[in-house]
Symmetry: C2
Subunit: 261 residues, 2 copies
């Protein structure tokens, strides 16, 4: 039974990243793998879609139980072309996006192409997991992320039909050795924001250029029910994500501000 499952893989660091290979390893423990992933790095692409240009797909690997395609679009484009075109006839049991090089905790969920793809996957009624390791380096050690990815997928498959639907999980693994990880915490998204510090320099032709760099400001560092807290304290952080962005509190406050006539 277990080997009949099919897991769809994508990410934002491209099919050629080390984290993608780690995700194949996670998924392969549960069944067949079909992947459509970006053909180049698409970090920070959020929920972006490609409207104004055509997109190209090529097969990069077909081996025992693993089929991998590289796509010229964004992470969300990868999910859309998969579920609305190539995989319409196939039953997919889970969407796994990652393993991301770098944390997608807190407000990063909004900028991340890996989470954009996971969120998009959940729109197709399939459990979706975005899996990220809090280490940006190309050669990061994914051992702990693979192990905890497996544990979480295993729990989801065990729960089966009793899972909430839609379901999208933002899973972040701290950058510490597997043996030091204290466990898993279900959390909420930390409040906070990035403040940028642009490098302002000149290119070889004397033109000014700007290059984004910045740091995250945690607006609630002491709140122990947040994903940032969990990561900082050695836990794997799991935040279920939904897409109703309505600010219900502001909705009532605005009744007195905006005349509805």
């Amino acid at each position: 039974m277990q080997n009949e499952r099919t897991i769809f893989l994508t990410n934002d660091d491209s099919y050629a990243s080390k984290g993608f290979r780690a995700a194949v390893e996670v998924a392969r423990s549960f069944g067949r793998v079909i992947a459509i992933a970006p053909d180049r790095v698409q970090s920070g692409m959020s929920q972006a879609i490609t409207i104004s240009s055509p997109l190209f797909l090529r097969k990069v690997e077909q081996s025992d139980g693993v089929e991998i395609y590289a796509f010229s679009g964004t992470p969300v484009d990868c999910v859309k072309i998969a579920f609305d075109h190539f995989l319409r006839e196939r039953k997919i049991d889970l969407v796994l996006s990652g393993i991301n090089h770098g944390s997608n905790a807190a407000v990063n969920v909004m900028y991340s192409g890996t989470m954009g793809a996971a969120i998009e996957g959940s729109f197709y009624g399939i459990p979706a997991v975005g899996l990220s390791l809090d280490d940006h380096s190309a050669d990061a050690d994914f051992e702990a992320a693979v192990e905890y990815g497996r544990r979480i997928l295993s729990s989801l498959f065990d729960a089966g039909a009793s899972l909430p639907n839609p379901l999208c999980l933002n899973v972040n693994v701290p950058n510490i050795p597997l043996a030091e990880i204290r466990g898993i915490r279900l959390c909420r998204q930390t409040r906070g924001f990035w403040r940028e510090d642009f490098y302002a320099r000149q290119d070889p032709r004397g033109r000014d250029y700007f290059w984004l760099t910045g740091e995250f400001h945690n607006a609630e560092p002491d709140a122990d029910d947040t994903d940032e807290w969990a990561l900082a304290h050695g836990f794997v952080a799991v935040v279920p994500v939904q897409v109703d962005m309505t600010d219900y509190k502001a909705l009532s406050a605005l009744n007195d501000v905006i005349p509805q006539h």
Copy 2:
């Protein structure tokens, strides 16, 4: 007093779009305008940021009370370079993003570069408004959107310090003549999703390509408190937007699914 206000403008259709000019018209009624907008179309760019390449800025206009720059980044990059670099010393009273060619109601809030920029603007503690017209055509008639944009900005400025903070509004104007608009409705985001129908063709060299096209499926067409309902019934839809994407309902349901140890 009124003319001392400064409004920051951006969008995702570029500084050269008709909708951008319409936004200048809206903003100019309330004070000075400073704009950093994409130098080319960035529709569907969501909350995307540019991490891996340098960005270039050029001044395209400086006239009485209006200063416009074209930036090679995404809409969110425009907001970040403005507030974290160029405008750090200046007091900005409001962020206006738009006027978008096309609706950003319902789940479009997540794909839209115009809304991505508005959301980003609200991270700087400044009221932010994303303003969109439900008409994608390049030559759309923005009369009604300009008029209702003015009314809503006027309400926000009147409310001043009593506004919720952060505040981000997703304002969508139906594609009907001004005289037929029935008023403004405060709404919640409609539940729904896009299903795509990719054009699959061959390029002049015989390579297969795919081009995204699709349609929105409204999951609750009869709910009269949603933005899609308001637009369909001749109202300007105003949805306050926040960025905590935690699925609190799933959070409790998952306690029995994911072992926290």
